[in-house]
């Protein structure tokens, strides 16, 4: 416990900022998904840090992180399937070409 809680939270904040930059700035859909993964990592790091420092007896924090990882895996599978479908229809992966998808 020598490392303060804020150190982990700052790392998670930096990760979150980088993830947001990636999601907004990248043009390829795969890179956007990578940015989402970084965002999920930041959230998981926050949860684990709070679990460890605030309620180490209650393992619910780890449960939440496991659920986040699982949902991230599902999101990745479905997202990549959608991307594959779009790629087969449009022959491109750039999200700029998917603009007609907006309602």
């Amino acid at each position: 416990m020598t490392i303060p809680l804020s150190a982990y939270l700052i790392v998670a904040a930096l990760l979150f900022g980088i993830g947001i930059y990636t999601v907004v700035a990248q043009r390829s859909a795969v890179m956007v998904l990578m940015g989402v993964e970084v965002l999920l990592n930041a959230i998981g790091l926050n949860l684990i840090a709070f679990w460890r420092y605030v309620h180490p007896q209650d393992y619910s924090g780890q449960i939440f992180t496991i659920l986040i990882v699982t949902v991230g895996a599902i999101e990745m599978a479905v997202g990549l399937a959608i991307m594959m479908l779009l790629y087969r229809n449009r022959q491109t992966q750039q999200v700029d070409d998917y603009q007609e998808l907006k309602g």
Partner: protein, 362 residues
């Protein structure tokens, strides 16, 4: 925690650097394969931080699921991207961070980029009135093409559009950049796209001079030669039809990030700054140093099977739905060529009956 204080700090700093630099490199490098590797470094760093936080099971889960599962999927999907190696974009407008993380992307990056820029400058000087400069520039571009054709990049649109210089080397990396310039000389339309989004957002950083040079040069160019608009135009109509975001094909190839990159960087930095500021503003949570059970997998298993059983089942159902959804999306009928196959099959059935009819008549 059996580690001593200094060991903890060393491990923390190491994993933090791995995590943050990995994520930064993932976000800023021009090569998508490289960004996958950077993402793996970031995952490993986060797993190390988990283990340092004595969440051992989650660290292992992180490595197994993220690296073993998702990253393989990501790297597989990267194979379908236009330029997975980032070879084309390597010489483009890059901020210093991007330069750092995509350093060494191609061995002769600097020299060629400079030659390219010099060509642009030369074009700017004399372009409007001397068409043979184009020829010179084409030659330089083709030379550059020939130098590295090992970075494979299948850009069929470019090959079609540029069939007059049609070459096997359009696999080359700088090939497309140089062809782009030279194309732009002929096609004001495409060129505008390049200038607007491909290059201008880098102008703020270090290439102000060159970009201006290019802008002027091609502004001078565009009236003289607009004869080949059609070639690229018709290819990109499907993607250009929506409003003001019409990017030419070249532009799409040339930059991996959207023109909103400065805004995105501002948003990201603002988010980080706000979060860190909030942390520093209110740094005290009721931190307890209570002893806890080290048998975390057992505890987690008990919780998953007891208190959080519904969430566990729900996530299991979600996984099932995700698998079904992915398979459903990938079902063969959704492939465009499959409709052609069905039509072929039906057309294959019908002629049989048609063929039978004459036999009946005869």
């Amino acid at each position: 925690m059996m580690l001593g204080e200094t060991a903890q700090w060393v491990a923390f700093i190491l994993f933090t650097l791995l995590t943050v630099l990995g994520a930064l490199g993932m976000s800023t490098t021009m090569s998508m394969f490289r960004s996958g590797i950077f993402l793996m470094a970031s995952f490993i760093g986060v797993a190390g931080l988990f283990i340092l936080l004595s969440a051992d099971l989650l660290g292992l889960l992180q490595i197994m699921m993220y690296i073993g599962g998702m990253l393989v999927m990501i790297l597989f999907m990267l194979l379908f991207s236009m330029d997975p190696g980032g070879a084309m974009m390597a010489g483009m407008d890059m901020s210093p961070v991007e330069r750092l993380f995509s350093r060494g992307l191609k061995p002769q990056d600097k020299g060629e980029e400079h030659s390219g820029q010099d060509d642009m400058a030369g074009e700017e000087d004399s372009d409007g009135e001397k068409p043979h400069d184009h020829a010179a520039m084409q030659h330089s571009g083709m030379k550059i093409d020939g130098e590295h054709d090992h970075h494979a990049m299948h850009n069929s649109d470019d090959q079609e559009g540029l069939s007059e210089q049609a070459q096997p080397q359009s696999h080359g990396e700088m090939a497309d950049m140089d062809m782009g310039d030279e194309d732009a000389a002929h096609k004001p339309h495409d060129y505008a796209a390049i200038n607007h989004s491909g290059m201008n957002h880098g102008a703020a950083e270090q290439q102000m001079g060159e970009n201006h040079a290019m802008t002027h040069g091609d502004a001078g160019n565009s009236p003289t030669s607009g004869e080949k608009d059609c070639e690229h135009g018709q290819m990109d109509h499907s993607s250009m039809d929506h409003g003001d975001m019409d990017m030419g094909n070249m532009d799409m190839d040339m930059s991996m990030v959207t023109p909103a990159r400065p805004w995105a960087a501002a948003i990201g930095i603002a988010f980080s700054a706000v979060l860190v500021g909030l942390l520093l503003w209110r740094p005290t949570w009721p931190v307890t140093s209570a002893a806890f059970s080290t048998d975390s997998p057992r505890e987690i298993g008990m919780l998953l099977m007891g208190k959080y059983m519904m969430a566990f089942e729900g996530v299991g159902l979600l996984i099932l739905l995700g698998i079904f959804g992915a398979v459903f999306l990938q079902r063969p009928g959704s492939h465009p060529s499959d409709q052609g196959r069905e039509a072929y099959v039906t057309a294959d059935k019908n002629p049989v009956s048609i063929e039978l009819e004459p036999e009946d008549e005869s």
